[in-house]
């Protein structure tokens, strides 16, 4: 679970960065912006699930609430 999620997010970041460069060179800047946003949103969804998991574990471990 642990290491490949880092690779997944790094891969998404790299691909969006490369696509950005390509789109900027062919001066389609607005599509480049959309690609960046799409990459960001997909990564944020993954990260939010992990943060939720961390906070739930903290709640159960520390017996809060």
């Amino acid at each position: 679970m642990d290491i490949n999620i880092i690779f997944k997010i790094a891969a998404v970041g790299l691909i969006t960065a490369i696509i950005n460069q390509v789109l900027k060179k062919s001066d389609k800047d607005e599509i480049a912006m959309l690609v960046t946003l799409a990459g960001l949103v997909t990564v944020l969804i993954m990260v939010i699930n992990m943060i939720g998991q961390l906070f739930d574990t903290l709640k159960t471990v520390f017996g809060m609430y």
Binding site: D2, I6, T16, L58
Partner: protein, 128 residues
Amino acid sequence: MEIFRIAAIALITAFCVLVLREAKSELAPIVALVGGLVVVLSVINYFSDVFSVISSVAKKAGLAASVVTLLFKVIAIGYVTEFSSSIMDDMGLSSLSDKVTLAGKLIIVAMSLPIVVQLFNFIAGLLA
């Protein structure tokens, strides 16, 4: 043996962040955040073992259960505050991180007020 795996994960995360920063992607700090999450999630089970031992020792020592649970809550709040403020420092937003730290401190102080009042009453009782 766990520590080698964690060190490897942290190193790999650091390299990924460097590569992403080189590619000037906005996801570099997010990869750092996920790396931190993975490291913490892999050792979080030790927390529960340590705390069950601490609470049983405290029970034997006759400490009130409320004090121990409050201690655990304060530790949890302190940890979450530190976790989020260090991430914001990574992203360069030191002002936001200071505000989160201030909020964490205030919550902890507010939660530990009853114990402080209890302590003062106890001391007053001794002196009177």
